[in-house]
Amino acid sequence: MAYEVVSTASWNVLGTFEDESIARAAVVSLGVDPHDVVVYVSDDAGEPVDELADAELARWAGISPLARFF
C-alpha cells in the first residue's frame, strides 16, 4: 500500500509512505496540521483504492507529541 499525503493548503504532495503510521508520523514531524491534508491510498500496483476519511485525519491530530521524534 502507499499513502500519498497532499496538502490542501498548497495542493502539493508532501510525501508518499508505505504505512499509515509512518505517513501520520511524517505529517506530525513536518509540523503540518492533519486537518490540512488529504491522504490517498493506493495498492501495491499503484492503483488508487481509497481516501482516508476526515474522521481518521482528525484522529491523526491527536497523535502523541512523541511522534515528532520519529
Binding site: V6, T16, S29, L30, G31
Partner: protein, 131 residues
C-alpha cells in the same frame, strides 16, 4: 522517462536525487484559477506554510511543485477540492525549456508524481491548456 537525461545521484548510495525533466514532458496539475495564475504554481513553502526542519531530508517535498504524468491523478485532487466547494481545474503543462536552464525534478513512477523545482511564473508559462 529518464533514459537519456542527466541525473544527480547520491555518491554513497547511488540513489537518484534529482532528474532533469525532458523537453516536451507533459504533466497535469490541479489549479484553482482559470486562467491559471502564478500562485497556482507555488510550493508549500512559498505559500508561507511553516514546516519543521526536524526532517531536512524531506525538504524537497515542501520546496517543489507537484504535477502528475497521469491526468487521472490530478483529477483526484480536483474531485477532492470540488467536494470541499473549492474551485478547481486541471492545467495541462508541456515543459519545453529548450535552450534555457534545465528543469529539474523528482519522479516517482509508482504514483506518477513529478515534483518539479521552478519559479511559479516559469511553471505558469508551461501551461498548454486548461481542461
Amino acid at each position: 522517462m529518464y533514459g537519456s537525461v542527466r541525473v544527480l545521484k547520491d555518491s554513497e548510495t547511488g540513489h537518484v536525487l534529482l532528474q532533469e525533466v525532458p523537453d516536451g514532458t507533459v504533466a497535469y496539475r490541479m489549479v484553482q484559477n482559470n486562467p491559471p495564475q502564478a500562485i497556482d504554481f507555488q510550493s508549500h513553502y512559498e505559500r508561507g506554510r511553516v514546516v519543521s526542519l526536524a526532517r531536512p531530508f524531506r525538504a524537497y517535498e515542501v520546496l517543489g511543485v507537484s504535477v502528475f504524468r497521469d491526468q487521472a491523478r490530478a483529477q483526484r485532487l480536483v474531485d477532492t477540492a470540488q467536494r470541499r466547494a473549492e474551485p478547481a481545474w486541471i492545467a495541462r503543462l508541456v515543459f519545453a525549456h529548450g535552450g534555457t536552464a534545465a528543469l529539474w525534478g523528482v519522479y516517482k513512477e509508482r504514483t506518477g508524481h513529478l515534483e518539479v523545482f521552478g519559479l511559479p511564473q516559469d511553471l505558469l508559462a508551461s501551461v498548454d491548456s486548461v481542461l
